[in-house]
Point group: C2
Chain length 333, copies 2
Amino acid sequence: MATIYQVSELAGVSLATVSRVMNNNARVSDKTKEKVLSAMAELGYQPNAIAQSLASNCSNSVGVLVSELHGPFFGDMMSAIEQTLRSEGKHAIIASGHSNADTEQASIEFLISRKCDALILHVEAVSDVYLIDLAAKGVSFVLINRYIEQISTHCICLDNQQGGYLATQHVLDLQHAQVAYISGPSWKQDAQARLNGHKLALQDADIAFDNELVFEGDYQQQSGSAGLDALLGTGKAFSAIICANDEMASGVMTRARELNLDIPEQLSIVGFDNIIYASYLYPTLTTVDYPIFQMGKMAANYILAKTYDKSGLVLRDVFVPKLEVRQSSKLLA
Amino acid sequence: MATIYQVSELAGVSLATVSRVMNNNARVSDKTKEKVLSAMAELGYQPNAIAQSLASNCSNSVGVLVSELHGPFFGDMMSAIEQTLRSEGKHAIIASGHSNADTEQASIEFLISRKCDALILHVEAVSDVYLIDLAAKGVSFVLINRYIEQISTHCICLDNQQGGYLATQHVLDLQHAQVAYISGPSWKQDAQARLNGHKLALQDADIAFDNELVFEGDYQQQSGSAGLDALLGTGKAFSAIICANDEMASGVMTRARELNLDIPEQLSIVGFDNIIYASYLYPTLTTVDYPIFQMGKMAANYILAKTYDKSGLVLRDVFVPKLEVRQSSKLLA
DNA sequence: AGTTTAAATGTAAGCGCTTACATTTAAAAA
DNA sequence: TTTTTAAATGTAAGCGCTTACATTTAAACT
């Protein structure tokens, strides 16, 4: 592997000059630049990224921490991030936090120890205080899908409340007046916000909120099935059910089928996230679209702009969900 | 950020000694080790990974290249890889190749330029020759889901042919004698192998293979639907259909429903891969399990063993698929 | 006590770059 | 032509580690 030294020798210039043409951050005459470039070509020179990092104190790497690498989100998010970073010669280092505070913290520390220039975090368990602290320590990061007042400029969020509102409003528009809700874990911010949106929509329609019509699931498909059973078990009537994510909605569908409940004839279902498989289900699932790809891209752009000083990027920190109407919801007969 | 120098000063020893206790690859007396350790603790010392890499010529990073970051595979594979590497203090750098030769090649070069110690490749478009060359150049890598004779020790594969065989054998066992097949792109090795397995199973059952009952899809759900239409269009009768992956099987299901074809009453369907959503479909999909998690883990272990000299790892290079029987296939009435 | 030998520690030369600062070169001004 | 000034290039000191080799220390024999 050729080094900068050999290039400088072959080109008959100093190390510094070679470095200058590599980074072209300083003026070099066209003539010498030419010489250097051809020397590089001749030697098949590839700069040593590690040495560059050490000298420049910039690793060109961004740590990405998600809850689960295999979740329906991660792929799209990662795809967006990789693409965006890559186009600027940066790269992503990944880690998972498993929605566990200790693991998340350990992962963050791992990524920092790896000298990532910045982090993109999709964390749920670690405390606000920890993150505020992290920001105070000067760690550069952006938070996806979590809002913390004190470090609001680090947050890229979906308006989850609005999403919950849209979902409920949709079934309300379809004349459903008795609407059940399967929420995510109440300790998760997004789950709370979605449920809030639901309540708000009910309120705006002058429908009393009934706590018995809410079941707290865990975002897994299994808990959708369990939720339907529980809800049915209350004896309360409902003609529509909003699920805080698509996987639970899928669970509801499965269970409904087992119970010979026709969807959407007897029960309308609305999901949340619009994961790719939502449109493969039968019936296809009406859901609230979560623009995770765009958000991933924005997260990467934030970092490109803030950490790597790239200019000309339009930054946005709150994304708006939109309803994707499919077959699983219909006008109440 | 404290450096090794400050630690050595506080502990009253030399740089080398501090380095030794960090790497504990050389004998240091318990007494000094103690001093060093407490100095580290006192300073909150974190070794600089970049500097370590430069000096040791080992970046502790593994490049992972997949076709699509958002595919159904990637998540599981990545999850396994991250977990395995992480437990040994290594990390994964990701990239995608989009099943395009140039992009794949560029990605590989990108990862190499990033000084990855090894690569895990899930590539389809790049040529055998290129990969053989890469191995010859001394690049350390493992290939997932691709077999190349000359570099067989670099390959971790699923026995795709066996998988295809199992799928067809299953419907044959269910008395289906007319079996259609929707394959993946014929230029992809796994698609070929799966189809071969299908043919073999037919042959073993003394059923003539009929080329008209094969439709070449592209592994996307859409082409499953198109495939069903095409197959139906031939006028040939068939009571079962094998799909080379679950997404196309999902497409077949969707289209069958539109055509009022009852599944599995009128048509049995078998998929391949056993992606998580296969069990969320209706009816749940009988499919061939692709142990991608295990294979990802094995890929990481290979690298741990071969590149990082970790011992005590059991290595395996060919995985066996197994049938997952669900609702979409049934005994021919 | 003197010698041999191994263990513990220290010294210093890199690893391959970047960059502040010094120097040279050439263009512009006088 | 000489002086001023800016552009181009070079020099050399790091960046924070690892490690070959040298030296010191201490244990083990004579």
